[in-house]
């Protein structure tokens, strides 16, 4: 990788504390294990749980998969905020000082005809798999995050094998894609209140469709977010003034 200093961070850096400190720490950790294990063993053998509540309401949730029902209906507020956390991570990465060196042709040295052909074959398949995962979420394990992750992996793969340039998220349409999931989710959450409903209270009959809509939007956004997180803020958001400042820095 390009010989950039940040590309290889040696793992041996820093000296672990002195011998006595280490011993103390080890002692502490063992004590912690024992205390935690004691508490763990004291747990009731059958935790009461909420399974009965979930199954009692599952038919009204709009989906069959109970996990999806919890994630996108019963506890959809958690998921809404969780998407917020994802977005926040992206903003946080953007807010870091920009790194200049990790340039676009990162994938070039490893790219070759075998890889290219393989990725060309794989990419459409991954799109199908991602879509499938999104759809199956209503019935079986799967959903927006899983689908989005596969799509993001495809994006990274395509970029690493130098088949296509990175999308530029300073563009308005790419930002839309990035924010689409959260915006849709939020719009639904508040929109259902217009008729006097409560936050995130989907209309019972439409629950399935609403969930699918949200999940579709989320899949797109999560794919974008994961790609951006993979990049760690490289190659993004150049401002007009920046080139000037880089020249100044070089002088």
């Amino acid at each position: 990788m390009q010989g950039h200093p940040a590309a290889n961070i040696p793992l041996s850096e820093g000296q672990p504390g002195g011998c006595s400190v280490r011993r103390l720490l080890a002692l502490f950790s063992w004590a912690l294990v024992l205390v935690l294990a004691w508490a763990a063993l004291s747990l009731p053998s059958h935790s009461p749980g909420l399974v009965d509540f979930v199954h009692a309401e599952l038919e009204h949730s709009g989906v069959v998969n109970p996990v999806t029902a919890v994630l996108l209906n019963f506890r959809s507020y958690d998921t809404l905020l969780e998407v917020g956390v994802l977005l926040l991570a992206v903003f946080g990465v953007w807010a870091l000082p920009r790194e200049r060196v990790w340039g676009a042709p990162l994938g070039a040295p490893v790219a070759g005809p075998v890889l290219h052909t393989f990725v060309r074959l794989l990419a459409p398949l991954m799109i199908v798999v991602g879509g499938y995962l999104l759809w199956i979420g209503a019935y079986a394990p799967g959903g927006a995050f899983q689908g989005g992750a596969v799509l993001a992996a495809m994006g990274v793969l395509v970029w690493l094998s130098d088949l296509a340039p990175l999308p530029r998220f300073s563009r308005w349409d790419m930002r839309m894609a990035l924010l689409l999931g959260f915006a849709t989710f939020l719009a639904v959450a508040g929109g259902v209140m217009v008729g006097g409903g409560r936050l995130l209270e989907y209309p019972r009959l439409w629950a399935g469709s609403v969930i699918l809509l949200i999940e579709t939007a989320l899949t797109v956004s999560i794919a974008c977010i994961l790609i951006l997180l993979f990049l760690g803020g490289v190659g993004e958001k150049r401002r007009a003034t920046e080139g000037v400042r880089e020249r100044e820095a070089k002088q």
């Binding site: 009461p48 749980g49 905020l81 956390v85 926040l88 953007w94 870091l96 959260f182 409560r198």
Partner: protein, 501 residues
């Protein structure tokens, strides 16, 4: 429309999303209207709580334990007002701060500011939403998500400063924050395993003296103490708060540390109160005392203004924890409860004003070395005045909000017969006077002739002054918030100074 309770969370989230999409000018309009909307919603919610008692909102129509509900009592409403008013004025300040900053980046004097200052706005809105979500949530797992939201937003904001110090401080803050959240999360897992519910109200009826519950209490408390930066877990706070951009320092010191404190209050007094032995409160109180002393002494020894203010935060957090040993009794519990929470409120206003004033001076001078601030009273009289007024509240002198808090806590300490807590409050006030006047005396020193000085936007000075005035005069309008705090409080009645039998 009577569901005012959801908008303090939804509006800033929506505004954050829109502001990323919109251009710079449009973003200002969006943020301004969002602020107005939040204030309006909060006013509606306050009225509801005032008239009808605590408010609930069952999200999605799924009653707990299956679903999540929002819950607002007097404490939540007071905290919401705190974060809304302080947050909004910090926003006003930031307008001037970043305008001033971007006009002058590249000069060596300002230090290496990041070039991403427009990201302040969505991050600030996310932080706001996270605070509001935390103050309103009644579900321990949902609270975990809000904690993470808050922590990430806080760290991202610190990094906006961009320099080497800020990056390292941000990393330390991030690690501490994540460790705290994970400890809390482990507690959530244990509680779910024992009680089978996540709703705060239901939990309070199901917790029992069980090893797993004790462990959950221990790890959750430790995690939250780390996030609140109570001595000796405060190590991450001073560098993070001192090296962040001034509006961010204000946000973190004034509001973010209060969030985990609030959560601790909720858990201790509304969930775990039945199983907690009194000695536990004493332990927290002792840590609070140590924080007051340690933070104040270190504040006295600082050479940099912002570090001084940051160590003052470490000390002031200590006051909050004096509440715990005092809130045990019925006769004085209400005074301790009100005093502690009112202190959070007063400190939020005062500390934000202080960091803003310090930031203004730093922006004007290009540094914040304490011994080179001479004559700032003539250059930036409004900022110095704001600093002084905020300082009065930190010292706990009348008629400031800090005074009311100190009075109530002192009252509770004497009523409970534990006068030593009161003695600490008094000593802490004197130490605070020590470090505040360390700065203020510079205002009267003669102005050196050769100091480079850059004019700063007036709006920065005015925003700081408004908050400082609020902190100073909070004591004169203490009755409404104190009355609000009684709504849904674990201690009913008994507030006041009626004689002992």
């Amino acid at each position: 429309m009577n569901a005012w309770i959801v908008w303090p969370v939804v509006v800033p989230l929506a505004a954050a999303t829109l502001s990323v999409l919109a251009g710079q000018r449009m973003a200002r309009v969006i943020i301004g209207s969002a602020t107005v909307a939040i204030v309006g919603a909060l006013a509606g919610l306050t009225l509801q709580v005032w008239q009808n008692g605590p408010q609930r909102h069952v999200i999605g129509g799924w009653e707990p334990p299956l679903g999540i509900q929002l819950y607002a009592d007097g404490l939540s409403v007071v905290m919401l007002w705190m974060s809304t008013v302080v947050g909004a004025l910090i926003g006003v300040y930031a307008l001037g701060y970043f305008a001033h900053d971007s006009g002058t980046t590249g000069t060596a004097a300002t230090g290496e500011h990041g070039d991403n200052s427009e990201l302040f706005w969505p991050l600030w809105l996310f932080l706001w939403a996270a605070l509001h979500a935390l103050f309103l949530s009644a579900d321990i797992f949902n609270l975990y998500v809000t904690l993470e939201l808050l922590g990430l937003a806080g760290v991202a904001l610190v990094n906006l400063a961009g320099g080497q110090l800020a990056l390292v401080a941000g990393m330390r803050y991030l690690l501490a924050s994540l460790l705290g959240s994970l400890a809390y999360f482990l507690g959530v897992a244990f509680l779910y395993a024992t009680c089978g519910v996540l709703d705060v109200r239901m939990l309070s009826t199901r917790v029992s003296a069980h090893p797993a519950v004790w462990l959950a209490i221990a790890v959750m408390t430790l995690g939250l103490l780390l996030k609140t930066a109570l001595f000796p877990l405060h190590f991450w706070l001073p560098p993070a708060h001192a090296n962040a951009p001034a509006p961010v320092s204000a946000l973190l010191s004034a509001l973010v540390v209060k969030a985990s404190f609030y959560l601790l209050l909720r858990l201790w007094f509304q969930v775990f109160s039945v199983v907690l032995p009194p000695v536990a409160g004493q332990v927290l109180g002792i840590l609070g005392v140590l924080a007051i002393l340690w933070g104040s002494v270190l504040a006295l020894r600082q050479q940099r203004l912002k570090l001084l203010v940051a160590y003052s935060t470490v000390a002031q957090i200590g006051y909050l924890f004096v509440l715990f040993p005092l809130a045990g009794g019925t006769a004085w519990g209400a005074a301790a409860w009100s005093g502690g929470t009112f202190h959070a409120l007063a400190h939020a206003c005062a500390k934000a004003a202080m960091f803003m004033a310090a930031g203004t001076m730093m922006a004007a001078l290009g540094h914040d070395h304490l011994h080179e601030l001479a004559g700032m009273g003539q250059r930036l009289p409004l900022s110095m005045f704001a600093f002084a007024l905020a300082g009065v509240s930190l010292m706990g002198l009348p008629p400031s909000g800090g005074f009311v808090a100190k009075w109530l806590l002192l009252d509770a300490a004497l009523a409970s017969g534990q006068w030593w807590w009161g003695a600490v409050l008094i000593v802490g006030g004197l130490l605070a006077a020590g470090y505040v006047f360390l700065v203020l005396r510079q205002a009267f020193a003669p102005l050196p002739a050769d100091v480079r000085y850059r004019p700063v936007p007036r709006v920065m000075e005015l925003a700081a002054l408004s908050l400082a005035l609020l902190a100073f005069l909070l004591g004169l309008m203490a009755i409404p918030p104190l009355t609000l705090l009684q709504i849904g409080a674990p201690f009913v009645g008994g507030l006041g100074t009626e004689a002992l039998p």
